[in-house]
């Protein structure tokens, strides 16, 4: 029988906080982390806002990362390692008590963050900072883990893929524990200019906190965010053996490729629907069991329209009674980290029976008529939830999380 996969630790670093508790409190309060860009001089960019992680992060990272190692990492890598350290602490694991050859690290990483905003780079550190695989490698090094350690890049679905792959490693009996997640920051001149040239970003710079407005009639693109999200996936057997606190379980996943367009999602959300169908089938659940969907919800014209159509295509009339919300309305689009950060938020929603809102939903799009949990969080029991992630290139992923019933 396949191993049940449970979540025994998790953490988020985002524009709304440097730890899990602060993030959750601010998400439930419906706060926005979007502000004018401070990481570089954005005065020449069309978009001059982003959801930046607080500068206090560097002080926090010094608690976990030695100066020497820190100098060989980019800011994004330090974010990822710091996030992982706190997630591991939360899980209460002692790796000395584990078989390290059965402990793995899988991260979704789009880029290592070695951009023009990276400070104090030496020639000798350039290679380490450019290695996308360094993010998982540093975590593996930190705990001397000897199971597989690798990164996967499927654009904005990267860390959702990491969750699915980690789940598969445990389900198939290849690992007892997998640290999964991702980190990202593309808040730099070149990337913002690039996304602006694709008309993908919101250009409503003032007020910044109102710019990300998924499912709104007046949405005009996504807002770049940055951060890290980590989950500790563990076999139920391993978690029970060490009396770990189990926060929820991963019940299944769906991956698909659209084979359609390098940027635009497949018309009418056909690919997105296929992904959700696959995930539901993999988890062996009935559609009626789904209590909540944490949407990809980017605040772009096409994504929000097609994701809504996809949910209707999959769930039919049931779609109207399933609450759907977009965390990106508050923390922006954290790209490679999005799947993991939003996965953690979904787990917290299950654990705390609170659904986080889609903020800035003041002018609903009449064509988008689902329950998007507008502007205010909601208390609601959640047993099964989906988390959607869709990336440029047609990379789609849906993760199914479920309340752990023992």
């Amino acid at each position: 029988m396949a191993e049940k996969v449970v979540i025994t630790g998790m953490n988020i670093i985002s524009s709304l906080g440097l730890d899990l508790e602060t993030n959750w409190k601010n998400l439930v309060a419906g706060k926005s982390g979007v502000k004018p860009i401070t990481l570089f001089d954005a005065s020449k960019n069309v978009t001059r806002i982003a959801a930046e992680v607080s500068a206090d992060f560097e002080e926090l990272s010094k608690k976990y990362i030695k100066k020497r190692a820190g100098s060989q990492m980019t800011r994004v890598t330090r974010m990822c390692v710091t996030c992982a350290k706190e997630a591991v602490e939360m899980s209460g694991i002692s790796f000395d008590q584990m078989d390290r050859t059965r402990c793995s690290v899988i991260l979704g990483v789009v880029n290592s963050g070695n951009s023009s905003t990276e400070k104090e780079t030496t020639t000798q550190n350039t290679i380490f900072k450019s290695m996308t695989n360094s993010l998982s490698a540093w975590i593996s090094l930190e705990y001397q883990l000897m199971g597989p350690n690798f990164v996967v890049n499927t654009a904005c679905a990267s860390s959702a893929y990491a969750i699915g792959l980690g789940y598969e490693m445990i389900r198939s009996g290849q690992s007892d524990l997998v640290i999964v997640g991702g980190a990202d920051s593309i808040i730099n001149f070149e990337e913002i200019e690039g996304f602006n040239s694709l008309y993908a970003l919101s250009v409503e710079n003032d007020p910044p906190e109102k710019a990300s407005k998924p499912f709104s009639k007046d949405r005009d693109g996504f807002v770049i965010g940055e951060g890290a999200g980590i989950l500790i996936l563990e076999s139920e057997k391993s978690a029970k053996a060490r009396n770990a606190v189990i926060h929820a379980e991963v019940a299944g996943y769906g991956f698909s490729s659209e084979g359609y367009n390098i940027m635009a999602p497949m018309k009418d959300g056909e690919g997105m629907a296929l992904t959700m169908e696959k995930a539901i089938r993999d988890a062996g659940i009935y559609k009626e069991e789904v209590d909540y969907i944490n949407a990809h919800g980017t605040s772009t014209e096409l994504n929000d329209r097609y994701e809504t159509m996809a949910i209707k295509r999959v769930f039919g009339d049931l779609a109207y009674r399933i609450p759907v919300s977009s965390s990106k309305s508050m923390i922006g689009h954290t790209i490679g980290a999005a799947g993991a950060i939003e996965g953690v938020i979904t787990v917290l929603s299950i654990k705390n029976s609170i659904l986080t809102p889609t903020i800035n939903l003041d002018h609903p799009d009449p064509d988008l008529d689902l329950d998007y949990i507008p502007n205010q969080s909601r208390e609601q029991e959640v047993n099964v939830a989906l988390s959607n992630s869709f990336g440029f290139g047609g990379h789609n992923a849906t993760i199914v999380f479920r309340k752990y019933a023992g």
Binding site: K66, K67, R68, Q124
Partner: protein, 102 residues
């Protein structure tokens, strides 16, 4: 060949100790010749290369990295004392370092 003076070894020792104290975030008083660079202070092999660069600049040394690499394979460095000894040989013999083994 660089000119070795009485002060050279002290200079090299000071630079090496300060480098490790700073990079490894340890009290310089806790460092000694027998300190194992990797096991005791969590150092790494790249530090050796960085120190070579520092000394190449300081003493305007003519030595290729591959020469040092070949020598280090036969004379592995584990402690701070061994590293200082090797740096002294590098400064003294530069590209003729390998002739010491002949």
């Amino acid at each position: 060949m660089a000119l070795i003076t009485e002060n050279t070894r002290k200079e090299v020792t000071d630079i090496v100790y300060n480098f490790f104290a700073d990079e490894c975030e340890v009290d310089i008083k806790d460092l000694h010749a027998d300190t194992n660079i990797i096991k005791d202070i969590d150092g790494d092999s790249l530090m050796f290369l960085e120190l070579i660069e520092i000394f190449k600049k300081k003493y305007t040394l003519e030595i290729e990295l591959k020469t040092i690499g070949k020598y280090a394979v036969k004379h592995p460095v584990q402690t701070i004392g061994q590293l200082i000894d090797m740096q002294m040989l590098i400064i003294e013999h530069e590209n003729k370092l390998l002739e010491l083994d002949q």
